[in-house]
Subunit: 357 residues, 2 copies
């Protein structure tokens, strides 16, 4: 277990060392760590090495300034200046929140950004303003549309955070696929088979091989096969892609640039960098804030008190598992994989920033 | 095959006969028929009998006036006056479109409504205004959240329509479950088993019985079982429910009133009627209209030209299958089930409106 404050300060110092503005470094560290705290290590400090490799290869700008390219009272297109997603994305969400304050809702589509960690963080920014937050992003193409063998979509997540009164907020944050790539890697490393409905081979046949992505295979959309509604997952992933990239002018579908330096820059591009989409909805643009939040309490209690299937302890509300982990990890420290600790140690040496003094 | 114009005129005359305003009757007939035309008969004239039964039992107001209960520049809460959903919902979408014209986007949550036919119709209203349309509705509880045996959510659909330039628009319209109730009924009538991953029995065990809903069973959320991501489908259905009913002050989850007269009015209520949610996004609130639509053409062509799996003729774009049917049915007439024709004949007699003169 590693103390939150120690890892956080280390990450921040590394970002400052590579030229980030101090407040960007601070926010970037906070967002990266938010993933680890919430039990989603695939989007946490495990990513630091990849982020730094991209910077070392001049593929990310550590001192990026965002620019509002176009706006209306409720919308904006924001250019992320090819910065770290975790540093430019919170600024885009702040603009959405400001617009919601003025006209009820705010919607920002961002181009020229990069991998931005966990989507849920940005949606949660809306909560303290008594707003609903919505976040989407496109990502490297790994997912085949229904009936296709080509990888045209990312795991394109959607995150929605909704405030309540006495109950903790509703926080949904999920990929539009049955499984994330990281979990397939874990299965492969443990020598396990993937259940059918997660991936297909390069010919589009159902596959149990969790390593099939390295052999031309693809992740299936949420739903799994067509009979079970994979076309609905394909629709969802497409909507995320279009809102994040066609509205913003970023790269869509198969043109999304890789988020790791060991994959080459794509030779063809249809826009600027990776795209995200952010929304903020003032709840009192619909109902008096207290009325809405009391009703959300009732909604949450209705679902939490539902009868569980025998063998299950309870019915969960979206956000419950992550919040439970956050409470524990904040107190007891964050469990890091040995491989990640070793990476952080190498970074510590390379950038001359002490780790775990 | 039955000519579109004949069925349409018949439905309109019936609505006028029961006291609907003429323009409501016209719009209602158009929307009901839009489902049949697009090959979704479960939401078409098959519903007319249920609609009339509700009216006969004083459970729906045929002459409903909508009322804007609250608004901001980009949002409104609209009371549907307990009217037919197919008559009051298009007015709510028009308000969203008007707001988008003014401030870039418009978002309307509607309470006190009823079953509104196909969600896609309302999203498509945005297209001719160079806007993206978004529609959601909650519905009678038939779906159990992950880990639960209780039916707390409807099949809660999401419809998103996005304009293109030379290509036909992208139109996604899907339930947040692997299957709609109507398709289970068809399997049952044909003596077929349901594949695993569609429904569970009253104890929450996986079931092959397409008739299990009549025995206390439930439809599963999109994803099927928890391993394949049913919690993501549960999140989606919940978001639709909260946007449609908590933002508007309608009934949520298990409190949504039945859309058929043979089920009793629920004794407990947490809001007004059924809820819907509508959004309109002016594409030029983000990109110049032509730039956006050209890029959508490129998006659509990229996906349409993807390599199909052997045995599949092509990769589909959301909206393709429905548009193909619409083209044929408009020309050749709509195929109606014999049972539906018989229902229409009974209605013809009861309300003294000639059918198929």
């Amino acid at each position: 277990m590693y103390k939150y404050e120690l890892i956080n300060d280390f990450v921040k110092q590394v970002f400052i060392k590579i030229g980030c503005y101090e407040e960007d470094a601070e926010k970037g560290a906070e967002i990266l760590l938010a993933a680890d705290l919430r039990g989603i290590p695939s989007h946490g400090v495990l990513r630091l090495k990849d982020y730094l490799n991209l910077w070392e290869n001049n593929r990310i700008n550590s001192k990026a300034n965002i620019e509002v390219e176009h706006e209306t009272p409720s919308t904006a297109v924001v250019n992320g200046g090819n910065g770290f997603g975790i540093m430019v994305a919170p600024k885009a969400m702040s603009i959405a929140i400001e617009k919601a304050r003025n006209v009820g809702t705010g919607w920002v589509s961002m181009n020229n950004s990069n991998h931005f960690g966990i989507a849920g963080y940005y949606s949660m920014m809306a909560l303290k303003n008594d707003m609903i937050g919505i976040t989407m992003t496109n990502a490297n193409p790994l997912v085949a549309p229904t009936f296709s063998i080509d990888r045209l979509l990312g795991t394109n997540p959607i995150a929605v955070a909704i405030p309540a009164l006495k109950q903790p907020p509703f926080i949904a944050d999920f990929a539009t696929t049955p499984i994330a790539r990281g979990k397939l890697d874990v299965m492969h490393r443990n020598g396990k088979e993937a259940p059918l409905g997660f991936v297909q081979d390069k010919l589009g046949n159902p596959s149990n091989n969790p390593n099939i992505l390295t052999e031309g295979g693809a992740i299936l959309p949420l739903g799994g096969d067509n009979e079970h509604g994979s076309h609905k997952g394909y629709c969802l992933g497409s909507i995320v892609d279009i809102f994040s990239a066609v509205l913003s002018g970023a790269n869509f579908g198969p043109f999304v640039p890789p988020s790791v330096a060991y994959l080459p820059v794509l030779s063809n591009s249809v826009g600027k960098g990776t795209g995200h989409f952010f929304g903020a909805i003032r709840v009192d643009a619909f109902q008096p804030s207290d009325v809405f939040k009391k009703q959300m309490d009732k909604w949450i209690e209705t679902f939490r008190n539902a009868t569980p299937i025998e063998g299950q302890s309870k019915v969960l509300i979206p956000g419950d598992p992550e919040r439970e982990k956050e409470t524990i990890y904040k107190k007891e420290g964050i469990p890091l994989l040995e491989s990640v600790v070793n990476e952080l140690k190498s970074i510590s040496k390379k950038y001359d920033i002490p780790f775990l003094r």
